[in-house]
């Protein structure tokens, strides 16, 4: 090959390289742009209505000014707590079964399929299902059922978390190298112990990410709450009673005809997003400390 042709090819190659890099950067920007736009607009609209009252006061009747969403912030916290207590253990447990014990079996196939379908169920349907199953009927011996309650909302959100937690747990466990499992078995460690103490621990950064994804997703859900927790204008920490929740409060305020409420809805949206980011960051920080850093 002549030296000219060689030079031409080499220049073409570096051109293609730069072109593809530029396209990748462009795609990244397009992905980030809406996120930044939403956040900036929220900051712009929300901060003006944010004050201390917002965090320590409950809503006031129409016509009066002031008031806050303290009860809704607390309510959301309680709902997400209940949801996580239900969704995280069941999701992780099912994920462990799929990856470690049920491999290739019919039961695993059925569970995986169910989880995928559940993942695609619209949230309003999850709310209706919770309503039909535990809000409308009183189930004997099961407390909190038969009426609107914080508990029923937590259940609806918790079941929405399960498929995400389950499938990410499964995928993260399958990524743990076979050699690591063999090392544990070769030491005479029983299989169940090896799964819990070695495989799950090795996969834990990914599993935690999955849990946080599920958490962040349900934290902003409104539809499942409409038929379950109903909403509440007053302080309540009772799992047996209707409770306020940020997304629900935002929905009600945003749909209202009052400017004052619109402003509070903006402030609520900003607080909701900031709280989700804070919660996710906190969990990441706590779990990334210690010797485990080499893991991820």
């Amino acid at each position: 090959m002549s030296s000219d042709a060689f030079q031409f090819r080499s220049r073409m190659r570096s051109f293609t390289d730069r072109l593809v890099t530029a396209l990748a950067i462009l795609a990244t920007l397009i992905v980030i742009a809406p996120l930044v736009a939403i956040f900036v607009y929220l900051l712009y609209m929300g901060t003006s209505s944010l004050n201390l009252d917002f965090f320590i006061k409950t809503p006031v009747p129409v016509g009066e000014t002031g008031g806050g969403m303290a009860n809704a912030i607390l309510g959301s916290g309680i709902l997400l707590g209940v949801a996580s207590v239900i969704g995280v253990p069941i999701g992780i447990g099912a994920g462990i079964f799929l990856a470690e014990f049920g491999r290739g079996g019919k039961l695993a196939l059925a569970i995986r399929f169910t989880a995928d379908v559940l993942n695609g169920v619209p949230s309003i349907v999850m709310g209706l299902a919770a309503y039909a199953l535990i809000v409308a009927p009183k189930i004997p011996f099961l407390p909190f059922t038969g009426h609107f309650s914080a508990f029923s909302g937590g259940v609806a959100l918790g079941f929405m978390m399960i498929p995400t937690v389950c499938r990410t747990t499964e995928e993260m466990l399958l990524m743990v190298p076979h050699a690591v499992r063999e090392a544990a078995l070769g030491l005479g460690v029983p299989n169940w112990r090896s799964v819990l103490s070695i495989t799950v621990k090795t996969a834990s950064p990914g599993i935690i990410t999955g849990c946080m994804l599920a958490f962040a997703r349900v934290a902003g859900e409104t539809a499942p709450l409409i038929f379950t927790v109903l909403g509440n204008q007053f302080w309540s920490t009772n799992l047996n009673q209707p409770i306020a929740a940020l997304p629900l409060q935002i929905y009600v305020y945003a749909m209202s005809p009052y400017d004052d409420w619109h402003r509070l809805a903006w402030a609520g949206s900003l607080v909701l997003i900031v709280l989700i980011v804070l919660a996710v960051s906190l969990v990441r920080y706590v779990t990334s400390r210690g010797v485990l850093k080499g893991a991820s």
């Binding site: 090392a183 078995l185 070769g186 030491l187 005479g188 112990r193 834990s204 010797v291």
Partner: protein, 252 residues
Amino acid sequence: MGVGIEVINLNAWYGTNHTLQDINLNIPANHATALIGPSGCGKSTFVRCINRMHETNPIARATGIVRIGDLDIYKDAKPVQIRRRVGMVFQRPNPFPTMSIYDNVAAGLKLNGYSNRRSLDEIVERSLKNSALWDEVKDDLKKKSGASLSGGQQQRLCIARALAVDPEVLLMDEPASALDPVSTSKIEDLIFQLKSQYTIVIVTHNMQQAARVAEKTGFFLNGRMVEFDSTHKIFTNPSDKRTEDYITGRFG
């Protein structure tokens, strides 16, 4: 102290693939025994039958008698008990990535419910000294993750981990094939020292390595053991034509 291993009519399968056929041999206690042969000849399967790791694969099975000391491992014991007496070092170093150096060595004991901290400290130190890694890691035992060590160090860490549960037999499946020459020679020195305390079985593709570390050598071919004799005899005056062809490099 190490114990001898007696293998009688061992057969093993992966699915319908008959990977080991009628293996009979006696592995002497407190010596190093090398197993050589071309890839796929069954030598790895053979060592995995000695600690019943073979059957962790759902499609695998084995028949025959393997006695470790007085224990008939396929009749009288559970796999978990055997693997505590028969340590294993794998081809690729496989430290537990989320654990510190200390926890890696202590893993076998801790995960089996042993928790006396003072003696755990002693065992970790002794195991790391036995695997010639102590001086390199003694200052970061709990600070560094096992995965942060170099490949050769990781393999010695894996040896320390195997030694910590105080086995009688140490199986090594090509322990140096993923390592550079310096690390390899460290592992070989280690085998030399360890065989006074343990019975060592080492699978290797490297015939010089077999000649350097092992008193006895077995040659495997197509799932059968062709010849088993003193290493000196195998490499200088093999009885079987196929052994001679293999060690002189005519195939494999």
